[in-house]
């Protein structure tokens, strides 16, 4: 199996791009001639084949005894000086887990999309983009070097942009796509700077150690991950542009922070989190696949992939953990106040991603990846469930007009409930194990701190609260679809749609839900911590990747206390949710009126968008106006003065030209002209006249010769 993967590992990446190729180039024709079904089959088949290959790769890795790394070289891509990059794919436990998540969940969401996108004129376009996304994501995950990873990184950003603005005829969708893209650009700039700084500093160090000769035969690649893992220690204690060491900024920290800026862009962390809620403008399967399960986790994956780099800078790790915890807390608080079902889930995603970053930041890499995996299952399930609800309600997004859907859509409700319990962290659902591991590491790890734990702890309670709120408002109580105000022109959905028309979604949508819910239940069991009698197989599986990190021993009475505390606060959150939105429906309004000012701030997402608008957009505008004034009065003044001076000078020289130079020229011309018109008389055009002249001259010469 190892040989197979070494030779054919690229097939994992190839199948989706083939699907994208077929659907993208011939999709319009296929859709017209053979109908939507074939498009869906092509897309699903390509992802399924990819999934099967990924499964083979996974078992090849898992079955490997000694070294669990397989590199599949495809071809030599770049060879410029010491920059050498191959199209090569790196299979190790980390990437094996990721490709299983990407292709597995991707496949389920493809199937779901067949039902969800039914009847859309851009059906083929959707699936082409989706396959392209899978391709890019797999490239990102399997990349053997930084450059290939960057290509995948940009590729998923592009697909995200394309899919957010999929219904581009509506202006706000297009704007949301642009916003996502532009915010990601900021992050990508940081990422690129990180790569360049890494390359530059590492190259300098290698040159300083006199090891450049190793690159002569062209087998080593400076930016490939195995090489980096072996050689980053050279960067230890190197200054960044001569900044003294006591400031805490070494080149390692600079690289890590640059890369982390990229991660905040891609994974929607503060301060670049603003694009993700707007990205919900895209179709719901896209939200599930890209903006919940896979793409947004790219930042976490990248940190995991480069953990050897991040482990060397405790300053960078501290910042990551702090940003992650802060994001988790703030996003969770916003989620409590939103009414749009998909926005709640979007903020929930941001919050959970904050958890993962917190895990990464305390150097608990396997815990972060573990939560990434469980989160991928239950958040995809939540999003797909929300999509199912939206289909049933004809794209009515506002939870205030939902309710009572339990009765109409039992399968969606059940899966949604399971996913909610999973994300809230009720044992024994998957979310409990992963979240709890992060919380424990946040407290106990070398890089951890009780404050971090406390922030995560509060977030856990809020998560339970807003998820219960979501569940209550959507599925319990009476249906309020008919109560919604009819004059809201900007509202979503079909206004003439009433509660009698609600029905359960088709099997192509519910089957993936059921499968995902199943995994949301059991996925946690592969990582049961030792403290609960498990063996934490997931952590051991990834251990060969994160070997540089020393795992904290899990035999501490404190762990049980923390675990009990988190379960308690989760239950408290659920109870509060039930109390607020089911038992006493009037309570939320009263609480809100009590803390009106705080509520407004949170409800408006802490005015981050407005601040950005004020600082960056208006700031840019103000600078533009200042520059315009500067241009108008100073630059234009100089230009105009030069112009006037030049005009005076040219007047004078023009006069001189006219009188003297032209006079001379005209004199010559006139002389030539008059001479010419005199001489032209000779040119009569008649042969005999010429003969006449000729003999006249002959006569003259002969006479001359004879006389003298």
């Amino acid at each position: 199996m190892r040989g197979f993967i070494e030779q054919y590992g690229f097939l994992i990446v190839l199948f989706p791009v083939l699907g994208a190729f077929i659907n993208g180039l011939f999709g319009r024709h296929i859709q017209k001639k053979y109908g939507e079904r074939l498009i869906g089959y092509i897309a699903c088949t390509s992802v399924f084949l990819s999934f099967m290959t990924a499964a083979i790769a996974f078992f090849a890795i898992a079955g490997g005894r000694n070294t669990a790394v397989i590199i599949s070289h495809v071809y030599n891509w770049l060879n410029i000086g010491y920059v050498k990059a191959d199209i090569a794919f790196l299979f190790d436990p980390l990437s094996a887990v990721m490709i299983l998540i990407v292709t597995g969940i991707g496949f389920l969401i493809h199937i779901y999309s067949i039902g969800y996108m039914k009847g859309d004129p851009g059906y083929y376009r959707f699936f082409a983009y989706l396959n392209l996304f899978i391709f890019s994501m797999l490239t990102l995950v399997l990349a053997e070097n930084m450059l290939l990873l960057f290509i995948g990184w940009e590729g998923v950003g592009l697909c995200s942009y394309l899919l957010i603005g999929f219904w581009y005829s509506k202006k706000e969708n297009a704007i949301a796509g642009n916003k996502a893209f532009i915010v990601n650009r900021v992050g990508d700039l940081g990422f690129l700077l990180g790569i360049l700084t890494l390359f530059w500093s590492l190259y300098n160090q290698i040159a300083a150690n006199g090891r450049l000769a190793e690159f002569a035969n062209g087998t080593l690649s400076l930016l490939s991950f195995p090489f980096l893992a072996e050689n980053v220690h050279l960067l230890q204690g190197v200054n960044f542009f001569g900044i003294p060491e006591y400031t805490g900024i070494s080149v390692i920290t600079a690289i890590c922070l640059f890369l982390f800026l990229g991660a905040t862009g891609k994974s929607a962390q503060i301060p670049l989190h603003v694009w993700l809620p707007d990205a919900m403008a895209g179709p719901t399967p896209v939200s599930a696949l890209i903006h919940a399960a896979t793409m947004v986790t790219a930042g976490i994956y990248m940190i995991g992939r480069l953990h050897f780099l991040f482990s060397m800078s405790s300053a960078a790790l501290g910042i990551i953990a702090a940003v992650g915890a802060l994001t988790a807390l703030i996003a969770a608080s916003i989620a409590c106040t939103q009414n749009d079902i998909k926005r709640v889930l979007a903020y929930s995603t941001i919050s959970q991603l904050g958890y993962m970053f917190m895990g990464m930041g305390v150097a608990a890499y396997s815990a972060g990846i573990f939560h990434l995996m469980t989160h991928a299952f239950f958040k995809a399930c939540l999003f797909l469930g929300a999509g199912s609800v939206l289909i049933a309600l004809r794209h009515e997004n506002d939870m205030r007009w939902m309710g009572g859907l339990k009765r109409y859509m039992p399968r969606t409700f059940l899966t949604f409930l399971i996913a909610t319990l999973a994300i809230s962290g009720i044992p024994p659902f998957s979310g409990f194990f992963s979240k709890d591991e992060i919380l424990w590491e946040a407290w106990s790890s070398d890089h951890g701190h009780p404050v971090l734990w406390f922030m995560g702890f509060i977030t856990a309670g809020m998560t339970a609260f807003y998820m219960t709120r979501l569940l209550m408002m959507t599925f319990f109580g009476e249906n309020r679809l008919d109560q919604r105000p009819h004059d809201t022109g900007g509202g979503h959905g079909d206004q003439h749609y009433s509660s009698h028309d609600i029905k359960e979604s088709p099997a192509s949508m519910t089957v993936p839900l059921v499968i995902l819910a199943f995994f949301a239940i059991i996925a946690g069991f592969i990582g049961v911590p030792e403290a609960l009698g498990g063996s934490n197989r997931f952590s051991h599986f990834l251990g060969s990747v994160f070997s540089s990190h020393v795992e904290v021993q899990h035999h501490d009475p404190l762990e049980y206390i923390l675990m009990a505390a988190s379960v308690f606060i989760v239950l408290f959150g659920i109870a509060a949710g039930v109390l607020f939105y089911s038992v006493k429906p009037g309570l939320p309004a009263r609480v809100v009126s009590r803390i009106k000012r705080t509520y407004d701030v949170v409800h408006n997402k802490y005015y981050v968008d407005e601040i950005y608008d004020f600082v960056f957009v208006s700031g840019t505008k103000v600078i533009t106006i200042l520059l315009a004034v500067f241009d108008q009065y100073i630059i234009d003044g100089i230009v105009n003065l030069t112009g006037i001076l030049l005009r005076c000078k040219s007047r004078i020289s023009g006069w001189f030209d006219l009188r003297f130079v032209d006079g001379a020229v005209n004199l010559i011309a006139d002389t030539t002209l008059s001479t010419g018109s005199g001489m032209r008389r000779i040119q009569t055009g008649r042969i005999q006249a010429y003969i006449m002249f000729f003999f006249f001259v002959v006569l003259v010469f002969v006479s001359y010769k004879i006389i003298f």
Partner: protein
């Protein structure tokens, strides 16, 4: 009285040449001009032959006369072709009217 000598031939050829020259210049008709040219060529050929006999005393002068005759024939043929061409185009062979090259 010995009149068969170089002087007689020179006078004869001079007269031929001058009449040819006059014809060439004074005629309006292109054919007239060609007649004049033929006269001039003839006088030249005669002069060569005379010098060949009386002055150089070998046959090379005669040889040049032969070449002149050949060239005269060639010239006449080409002249005829050009003449036809001009006539077809202008419907006239008046040399005075062929003055497109006038400056």
């Amino acid at each position: 009285m010995d009149i068969i000598n170089i002087n007689s031939y020179m006078i004869i050829s001079l007269l031929l040449f001058l009449s040819g020259l006059f014809t060439t210049i004074a005629r309006r008709n292109i054919i007239g001009i060609i007649l004049g040219i033929e006269l001039i060529l003839n006088s030249a050929a005669l002069n060569f032959a005379a010098f060949s006999k009386f002055s150089a005393s070998n046959l090379e002068g005669q040889l040049f006369s032969i070449f002149i005759i050949v060239i005269a024939a060639a010239e006449a043929a080409i002249a005829l072709a050009l003449l036809l061409s001009i006539f077809m185009r202008h419907g006239d062979i008046n040399a005075d009217k062929l003055d497109r090259l006038r400056g």
